[in-house]
Amino acid sequence: MRNNCGAFMTDMTSPARFERPSALAFLGYAGAIVIILWSFAGAGFSVDKVISSPPRFADFIDRAFPPNLEPKVLARLGWKMLETLQIAFAGAVIGVILSVPIALVAARGLIAGNWVNQIVRTTLGFIRAVPDIAWALVFVVAVGLGPFAGMLAIAIDTIGFCGRFYADDMEAADTGPAESLTATGARKLDVVACATIPAAMPAFISTSLFALEKAVRSSTILGLVGAGGIGIELKVGFDLFDYPTAMTVILMIAVVVITIEQFSGWARTKVIGEQR
């Protein structure tokens, strides 16, 4: 409706700052608070322990510092850290490569039917549901102690992560180029290879960098179960109460993980920055 000047007549009353929640929403909030309190109780949350822990923590710090910086120890830990990175890179690369064909059959509306999509997505969900340390235990049993078991654990963990997100990325990709190629009579596989995958490529690269970060973090603890890498040094350090060496391991892990995250963030910005 317009007024005499030809302008639209609209209601100028500003809405209330806060809206009163409905009875259902109120019940939802109350239920959420109960669940949080119940979880704290189940987790053994204790104020007494929180209050009494700082002196014990300070004692650990006192015994761990200065970290063990003996050249012989640093050389041994350096080689173990290198092995950790090798496990992470090799596992992530294999996982990323295998994730592409798996994601193609997991993505809805691309090359496979609905029931195939569902089976593959459920399988990927199962892979993700099992923690990487559990996969490492399985592969230690299957292929024996050592870094190969760790690499396989990282690879399968990466498949669970990248397979699902690559599929989501392809489903969300711009469908315009794909429609134009379909209209030329191109086959589904050609359309996916020429339009869908290139459209999803920036998201693929971003997801792969997250997978690499995740792989580096995971690979540092796989040694706890004998699957190679620097984790075994951390375990031995604590088992033998050699806290200075354990602190050196913790600091090395922190430096490497933060460096990888910084590199990943920089690379991600470069890739996404190219998108116009």
Binding site: P177, E179, A183, V191, A193, Q275
Partner: protein, 267 residues
């Protein structure tokens, strides 16, 4: 309905042919389409003889783009029949559908180029319907004949010098010209354009329409295009189809219409 024109029939009457009879490239009969119980259009029927340029006009939401997608079998119709180049699109098997589409070209409103690939790769991919497989995924692997054909198509649209540029680094007008080259590289019998100038400024839009129709007429192809520009519909269309109120409300020769009559479709 303003004025109707009988669909040209290829059927001879007696032994005498009164006028040259052209084959009918597209024949639509009783086509209906709805989305989630919302009817888009109903009982749409028309036929297009070879070489005719047809403008489809109508307000937003009248189903113009949906109609084009039904013609190409990109979305299924609810009922009715669509015969394109003697293929029953509604009931065709995938291979037959692909074979028919390979004789068609589509130019879309948003150009729909693959942004991260080169201009030449985008045009080479226009041959995928006729020559499927890895070698036409990129200009890098394409046979020399396909690369030459793509360069010739780019030359026709005046962009051969930009063959190695990434598609997402082109202007809107250049992108649409590349999309035209991609649609024409396979020498289609039918060209379909869905608001080809909608995302362009008026000058670029005029250039694209001039180029599109000069090439289409040179190749002698049947053209169906959607346009909200009434002048374009009257200038470039031999015939105008108007969708309004879920029906085909207009089917008339362009030279028998004026702008005022077409504007009535938007009221």
């Amino acid at each position: 309905m303003i004025k109707t024109r009988a669909t040209p029939s290829p059927v001879k009457t007696g032994a005498v042919i009164s006028a040259p009879v052209l084959p009918v490239d597209i024949r639509v009969a009783g086509l209906c389409k709805s989305f989630a119980d919302t009817p888009i259009f109903q009982d749409v029927s028309f036929g297009l003889p070879r070489g005719e340029a047809v403008a489809i006009v109508g307000a937003n939401g009248t189903g113009k783009s949906t109609l084009l997608r039904c013609l190409m079998g990109l979305i299924p119709a609810d009922s009715g029949s669509v015969d394109v180049l003697e293929t029953d699109i509604v009931n065709a098997r995938p291979a037959a559908l692909r074979a028919t589409r390979s004789q068609m070209g589509l130019v879309s409103q948003k150009h729909n180029l693959v942004p991260r690939l080169s201009v030449l790769s985008n045009v080479v991919q226009g041959l995928l319907g006729q020559r499927p497989g890895l070698r036409h995924w990129s200009q890098t692997f394409a046979p020399a004949a396909s690369r030459d054909a793509a360069m010739a198509a780019l030359d026709k649209v005046g962009l051969a010098h930009l063959a190695s540029r990434r598609a997402d680094r082109l202007s809107g007008g250049q992108s649409q010209r590349v999309a035209i080259a991609r649609a024409l590289i396979g020498h289609p019998k039918i060209l379909i354009a869905d608001e080809p100038t909608a995302s362009l400024d008026p000058a670029a839009g005029e250039d694209v329409m001039e180029l599109f129709f000069s090439l289409a007429r040179r190749e002698g192809v049947t053209v169906i295009f959607i346009s909200h520009n009434i002048d374009h519909a009257l200038q470039y269309g031999d015939r105008v189809l108007g969708l309004a109120g879920g029906k085909l409300g207009l089917d008339a020769r362009a030279d028998s219409l004026n702008a005022k009559q077409l504007r009535g479709l938007y009221d």
